[in-house]
Amino acid sequence: MEVDRDSSNDFLSNLSQELFMIRETGVREEGERLIELQIGPAHPGSGHMRILAWVDGDIVVRCDPDIGFVHRTIEKLSENRAYIKTIPLVERPSLLDTTPITIGYVNAVEKLMGIEAPPRAKYLRTILAEITRIASHFYGIGILAVFLGHSTGFMWAFGDREVMIELATMLTGARITYAYVIPGGVRRDMPQNFPDQVEKGLRYIERRLKDWEKLFLNNPVVERRLRDIGVLKPVMARRLGITGPNLRASGVDYDVRMAEPYEAYDEIDFMIPVAEEGDAYARGLVRFKEIEQSISIIRQAIKKIPDGDIISPQISRLFNPLMKKIYAETRRVKFPSLLATLKPPKGEAMARVEAGRGEALFHIISDGSTNPYRFRFVTPSFRNVILFKYLIPGHRVADIPAIYGSIDYFPPEADR
C-alpha cells in the first residue's frame, strides 16, 4: 500500500517541526543516537497501550501511540443486538464515567423514537452523571499522582472516590456499572435518606479538597514536575480537536453541558473552570475545580428535583397490573415486553454528551428493525489520543507519564 505523499503530508511534518522549534531542543532528524523505547502494554507507566518513543539521550524525538489492545468492537456488536441490550455494552469502555455515556446513547434512542424522559427522571440522571463525573475525575487525578510517584495521591483519590461509589450504590444498586438509564426514564427512584447522605458525602469531599490542596497541588515537587510541561496552546487544541478538561485548561471555554444543554443542565446554573496556561498543572487544577462545580450541581439538583413519575407515560402505559402495583409501591420500574424488542422508526439521530473526560458522540442509523443498522460511538479519549503524537515530542522521558496522566487518557475508552 504505497501512500502517495502530497501537500497535506508536509503540513503535518511542519506541525511537528514547529513543535521542536518551540521546545529548542536542537534535536532534528533521527540519527543513530536514537533508542526506540517500547513503553509497552505491560508497563507500569503505560496502561493498556504501547507508547513507541524514539529517545535521544533523555529527549523524546518522536512518539507514536499504538492503541487497540482492548478494542471491544462495540459498534460491530451493537449492530447485532437489540437497542436495550447495548446499554450495558456502551457503558463498559469508560468504566468509571458510565452515566454520561449511557445518557448519550439513550438520548439518541429517545430522539429516534421521539419519546421524552419526565423532569424528575432528567434530574435523577443529572445527579448520577455528576456523581460519576466526580468519581472519574478522582480516578484521573489518582493516575496522574501515581505516574509522578506520589503514591499518597493515588490512594487518597481512590479512597475519596469510594464515598461517591457508595452514594451511587444507594441510588442504583450497583457499584460502577449501573445500567440505570433506559429509554424513557430511569429504573429506580431516590431512596428516602438519599438527600442527607449525599449532603454528608459532599461535605466530606469539600473538607478533603483542602488537604488535597496542601499535600498535592501546592507540593513544590509536584509543581516542579507539572508546571510548563506539555503546554497545549489554544489554537493547537482547537486544530487537533481535543475535548474535555484538556481543552478547557488551554483557554477554550467549550463544554457540551453549556453548548447544547441536555437533561436538566439548563435549569441548574454552574460555571466552567477555564485556565489559560494549558500545561499539565493547569489540566490537573481544572479537574479539581470541576469537582467543586459538580458538587454545587448535585446540591442544586437535589434541592430543585420535582416529584412525579420517573418513566415516560408511553412506557408506563404498557405496564401489566402487577408491574403497575410494583411501580406504585416501590418506585422500581419494571420493563414492559416492548422494551426488549424495541423497533424505532427508520431514520437517524445524533446525541452529544459531556462525559468526564470530554465530549462523547452518538449517531444511530436505524432501518426499522430491532437492531440498529449503524451505531457510531466516539469517546473523548479517542479524540485525545492525537495528543500523544503532537504533544510529547521534545519533552524528556520522565515527562511521558506526567503528560499521559495529565491528559487523563483511558485506553479502554479510546479503543471502544
Partner: protein, 340 residues
C-alpha cells in the same frame, strides 16, 4: 588525650565479633532494616487512609511481613537472562552490598572502645569506601542487557556525581570544626562544645538531603522510577538477587544515618565511658541506634508526602542549591573553628 586502647587479645576478638556480627553490624542491620521497611509501609498506610501490612502475624500489626517477603525472595528461582554479561550481572549486587556494609567496621559506636579496624583518619576511610557503592549500581544497570536498566544506570551516574561531592564537602567541613578526622575525637569534641548540628546547621541540612538522594529515598527515587523505567537498574533481577538489590537501599540508609548521627548528633553523647566495658558497649550502641532510627523514620516518612523529581531537575538542584549550601557550610565552619 589517650582514649582506652584495645583490650587484651581475647577481649579484643570477642568485641570485634560482637561489633561486626551482633550490635552495630549484621544483627542490627537485619532487625533495624526489617523494622524500618515495615514502619515505612505502616506509615504510608496510615497517611493513605488504609491499614498497611497486616496479614502475616496479625497481632503485632504484620511486623513479620518482611520476614515472609525475605523467605519468599530466597525461595524464588531467579532467572539469569542469557544475553547478559554473567559475571557482572551476578557479582554487582553482592559487591554493592559489601561496600555498603564495610564502613560499619570503621565506626566507633561505644564510648571508650576502639572499633575493630582502628585507623587514625577513619572518617576519610569511611567516606572513601561508601562512595564506591554507587559504582556497582551502575554496573548492574549496564550488565543487564535492557534499555530501561541502561537508562536507569545513566541516571544513577548523574545523580551520584551531583550529590556525593556536596555530601563529602559537608562532612569534612564539620571535621574542620573539630580539627580532627577521627570519629572518636569528634564525639569527644562534641561533648565539650555543642552538638555538630548546632555548630553547623548548613552542613547537617546538606548531608541529610544528600543521604536522601544516595539511598534513593523519596523525592529523589529517580533511578528506580517505576512509572518510567520499570525498576531502573534492577529490571532484569528476580528472586534473591532482587531481594538483595531492594535491601541495598535500606542498608545504605542505615549506614549513612549511623555516620550522620555520629558526626552531627554526637553518637553516644549523653553517656560517657563509665567503668565496665559491657555496660558502655550496650548503652552506647542503643543510644546511637535510637538516633539513627529516628533519622530513618523521617527519611522513610517522606515517601508518603513527595513524588519524585525529574532527573534534570534533581541534577540541577544538586549542582546549584546543594553545592552552594555546602560552600556556605565550609565558610561557616571556618568561622566557628576560629571562635572555638
Amino acid at each position: 588525650m589517650v582514649y582506652i586502647g584495645p583490650l587484651e587479645i581475647p577481649g579484643r576478638l570477642i568485641y570485634d565479633f560482637l561489633h561486626i556480627f551482633i550490635l552495630p553490624g549484621f544483627g542490627a542491620i537485619l532487625v533495624l532494616v526489617i523494622l524500618i521497611i515495615w514502619a515505612e509501609r505502616k506509615i504510608a498506610g496510615l497517611v493513605q487512609l488504609r491499614y498497611g501490612p497486616l496479614h502475616v502475624s496479625r497481632r503485632i500489626g504484620g511486623a513479620l511481613q518482611l520476614v515472609a517477603d525475605l523467605i519468599r525472595y530466597s525461595l524464588q528461582e531467579f532467572i539469569v537472562p542469557e544475553n547478559v554479561d554473567k559475571i557482572a550481572y551476578l557479582m554487582a549486587p553482592a559487591l554493592a552490598l559489601l561496600f555498603a556494609v564495610i564502613p560499619i567496621a570503621f565506626m566507633p559506636t561505644a564510648p571508650g572502645i576502639a572499633p575493630p579496624i582502628y585507623v587514625e583518619p577513619n572518617l576519610l576511610l569511611i567516606l572513601a569506601v561508601i562512595s564506591l557503592a554507587p559504582i556497582f549500581v551502575i554496573v548492574t544497570g549496564v550488565a543487564s542487557d535492557n534499555k530501561f536498566a541502561f537508562i536507569g544506570s545513566l541516571r544513577e551516574a548523574f545523580l551520584m556525581i551531583s550529590y556525593e561531592i556536596p555530601f563529602i564537602i559537608s562532612i569534612l567541613s564539620t571535621a574542620l570544626i573539630y580539627g580532627t578526622l577521627d570519629l572518636y575525637k569528634i564525639v569527644e569534641a562534641q561533648s565539650k562544645t555543642f552538638l555538630g548540628v548546632l555548630l553547623n546547621p548548613f552542613a547537617a541540612l546538606v548531608a541529610y538531603i544528600a543521604i536522601l538522594r544516595i539511598t534513593g529515598r523519596f523525592p529523589f527515587e529517580i533511578s528506580e522510577a517505576e512509572s518510567e523505567l520499570v525498576m531502573g537498574p534492577y529490571t532484569e533481577y528476580s528472586g534473591l538477587m532482587y531481594g538483595v538489590a531492594m535491601g541495598i537501599g535500606y542498608i545504605k540508609l542505615y549506614v549513612y544515618t549511623l555516620l550522620f548521627s555520629i558526626v552531627f548528633l554526637g553518637g553516644w553523647l549523653p553517656i560517657s565511658s563509665t567503668g565496665n566495658i559491657v555496660f558502655d558497649y550496650i548503652l552506647g550502641n542503643i543510644i546511637l541506634l535510637i538516633k539513627a532510627s529516628i533519622l530513618m523514620l523521617i527519611a522513610v516518612f517522606l515517601r508518603s508526602v513527595y513524588p519524585r523529581y525529574r532527573i534534570d531537575q534533581a541534577v540541577r538542584l544538586g549542582w546549584s542549591l546543594i553545592l552552594i549550601l555546602s560552600g556556605a557550610a565550609v565558610a561557616w565552619s571556618l568561622i566557628i573553628h576560629l571562635i572555638i
